[in-house]
């Protein structure tokens, strides 16, 4: 008998399988996004010449427009343009648009002729803001929402349960631009506990970074914590009536172990899924919060790009957001396999 290599751990094979699938998924997502931004202007009646004129500024001469059209390859077929786009990501690209000559270093996700800058560094500069906002708020709402949900479920029908679920209902219903403006009005202007909310990099002054982000964190977390509290409560109520909870009690386990090790563990699984997706979405830009608090992250970048009809910027930020969601999806799936043994097999 030949010696066989030991089979890799099921979680490892699962991760490898999912990683390969994720690479393909990202390529498909980029193709679709690219095709949409290639086709949309044409469906709206734009000509390649019209597109080119967008890149050149006011009152262009027809000759200059034609030159740009050629140089940018706007008249090339879709696959060729997509190929150039991919090449730019890996190798970078030189843009020569009449008056403006520019080099877009790799990874080149396009060049904004309106801002006269490559898209990638602009997005990267917005990332710390968005990441700070999303991660901080996520920790707040995850801890707060789950804790309130668990307590509500265990004290079902009590004053605490009714009160917190009432607040949660309000939290789910109130939009961020409402709660955000009220928070600003109260705690930044009327009682200036958190004055001058603006982003300070963590590396520069961690204390100021945290202080200035408290309001956006709380406002963003309030919305999600409300949702998570309700989800956790429902999940806990369901799991605590499962047969295996009765078994855990029959073993003589302390109630704390029954609740946390046996109850919460099972109730958290769907929460993990939703949490991953929410984080992924937010990393692509917490648009409403960033606009409300004038934080220059990806969300505000997106809004400005759309207002300026800056196609390369919109394309870039869409791809980045898609990337975050796909990665979040991957992390969720892997976590799921770690948490729930039934997924692995």
């Amino acid at each position: 008998m030949t010696a066989r290599a030991p089979a890799p751990h099921p979680v490892i094979t699962f991760i490898v399988r999912r990683l390969i699938a994720t690479v393909f998924l990202l390529i498909v997502v980029s193709m679709i996004t690219f095709a949409i931004f290639f086709l949309l202007p044409r469906l709206a009646g734009q000509t390649t010449r019209g597109l080119a004129s967008q890149y050149i500024g006011r009152n262009p001469t027809p000759a200059a427009v034609h030159a740009i059209e050629q140089q940018l390859g706007l008249d090339a077929p879709l696959p060729v343009q997509y190929g150039r786009f991919l090449r730019g990501i890996v190798l970078g690209e030189h843009f020569n648009a009449g008056t403006s000559k520019a080099y877009c270093p790799p990874p080149c996700f396009g060049y904004s002729f309106k801002n006269q800058q490559p898209v990638w560094p602009m997005m990267v500069s917005g990332l710390p803001v968005t990441i700070s906002l999303a991660v901080g708020a996520a920790i707040l709402w995850l801890v707060g929402g789950v804790a309130i949900g668990v307590i509500s479920a265990l004290r079902r029908g009590t004053l605490f349960d009714r009160f917190s679920m009432g607040v949660a209902l309000a939290g789910v219903s109130l939009p961020i631009f409402f709660t955000g403006l009220i928070a600003l009005e109260l705690f930044s202007y009327k009682w200036p506990i958190f004055p001058n909310v603006q982003f300070v990099p963590f590396t520069q002054n961690p204390l100021l970074w945290a202080r200035n982000l408290v309001l956006p964190w709380v406002v963003l977390a309030f919305l999600y914590a409300a949702l998570y509290a309700r989800l956790t409560r429902a999940g806990m109520l369901e799991t605590m009536s499962e047969d295996y909870i009765r078994t855990a009690r029959a073993k003589g386990l302390p109630e704390r172990t029954v609740i946390f090790k046996h109850g919460l563990r099972a109730a958290l699984t769907p929460i993990v899924t939703i949490f991953g997706m929410d984080i992924g979405l937010l990393l692509g830009g917490a648009i409403l919060t960033e606009v409300t608090f004038s934080l220059h992250g990806l969300g505000l970048f997106t809004v400005e790009a759309i207002q300026n009809q800056d196609l390369p910027e919109i394309l870039g930020v869409t791809l980045l957001a898609a990337f975050f969601i796909v990665i979040a999806n991957l992390v969720v799936d892997v976590l799921y396999a770690v948490v729930d043994p039934r997924v692995r097999h």
């Binding site: 003589g252 109630e255 046996h262 948490v339």
Partner: protein, 352 residues
């Protein structure tokens, strides 16, 4: 001198609900000696499961009102602190449940779940507990226990899961094992194996066992004594031989007539008991069985007004019925005759 392990006296477990008071168990008394098996039989809603949960102290968390006495090895459990009952759970008394798949936690390995039961009652390290889990799996007949101990419940077959449940329940060597419908969710072929296993382990551990079931076949196989419950009360109690050979309660007659038998060539059809079990909120007055009992008219109306007290009809054999001994013998003989006649009639019609 009888070696009594469990003594239940006048146990009442009532649940207040918005619809009214549910009297799930209403004045139940029985006792159980070490090394013996008691089968508790009854239809759904007869209070047999609540009785077992009540003994284990697992009916708490609901707003149950419990009164009476449950003495385990002389120690009173009714009114004992939840902490004390928790200590006894899993160590001195253990329970296995109907559906082994939903009763095992899907996220933990079978071994971890068995080891957990051992760890909570014994001051040992994790390695010792793991080793113990392997030993227990071996003892309940799981092949390759050292590998299977790391499997998750969904990787086990139904019979193996129930074996694992039994291993978990027995991991602390309990003196009382309660099995609530242990074979109902299993394939017929596996049922006998599990019953054999419970029997073997009982001989080995000399523990007392309560088997709760609606299946008379199960109790016939395993039980020394049988308690027939109806609407939260005792209908009949006695040794298995007495109950099967000399059943005294019309409800027990009905149960026996509705049970298929393989051991004797049965000529009659199965005869179902008419009607449905009563609601435990609105239990019929007097004898709870009287609306379904064809002999209720022979008790001078007492079955509608008085709750029959269990009476000893022969040593150790209790029957809660208003009929006199003579009446019972007469009706029983008539019933046997009736069944035989019906069978003969069908035979002559060429139905067989």
């Amino acid at each position: 001198m009888p070696d009594t392990l469990l003594d239940v006296q006048d146990l009442r477990i009532h649940f207040p609900t918005s619809d009214g008071l549910v009297k799930a168990v209403d004045g139940l008394s029985f006792s159980l000696e070490r090394g013996r098996t008691l089968g508790i039989v009854g239809e759904s809603g007869s209070g047999k499961s609540v009785t077992s949960l009540g003994i284990m102290g697992l009916h708490h968390g609901t707003n149950a009102q419990t009164s009476g006495h449950i003495r385990l090895d002389g120690e009173e459990l009714v009114g004992a602190t939840p902490g004390r009952v928790r200590e006894l759970r899993g160590s001195k008394m253990a329970m296995i449940f109907q559906d082994p798949l939903s009763s095992l936690h899907p996220y933990y390995t079978v071994g971890a779940q068995i080891a957990e039961a051992y760890l909570v009652h014994n001051q040992v390290g994790k390695k010792v507990a793991h080793k113990h889990a392997v030993d227990m799996l071996a003892r309940v007949g799981i092949p390759q226990p050292a590998t299977r101990v790391n499997d998750y419940p969904h990787q086990f077959s139904g019979g193996m899961r129930q074996r694992a449940m039994i291993a978990m329940a027995l991991s602390c060597d309990p003196e009382l094992l309660i099995a609530d419908e242990p074979t109902t969710a299993l394939d017929v072929t596996v049922q006998a194996q599990i019953l054999d296993l419970i029997w073997d382990l009982q001989q080995e551990y000399h523990s007392a066992v309560i088997i709760i079931t609606h299946d008379l076949g199960v109790v016939a196989e395993l039980s020394d004594d049988i308690l027939v419950m109806y609407a939260g009360r005792m209908a009949e109690y006695g040794s298995a031989e007495e109950i099967f050979d000399q059943p005294g309660h019309p409800y027990t007659w009905g149960l026996l007539a509705s049970m298929p038998r393989i051991d004797e060539a049965r000529l009659e059809r199965l005869i179902p008991i008419k009607g449905t079990p009563p609601s435990l909120i609105d239990v019929p007055s007097g004898c709870a069985f009287h609306p379904r009992c064809r002999y209720a008219g022979f008790t001078d109306g007492r079955s509608q007004t008085d709750v029959p007290a269990p009476r000893e009809v022969s040593p150790g054999h209790l029957v809660a019925c208003h009929l006199t001994g003579d009446q019972r013998r007469k009706f029983r003989t008539e019933l046997d005759l009736e069944e035989t006649e019906a069978a003969t009639a069908r035979m002559t019609q060429g139905e067989l």
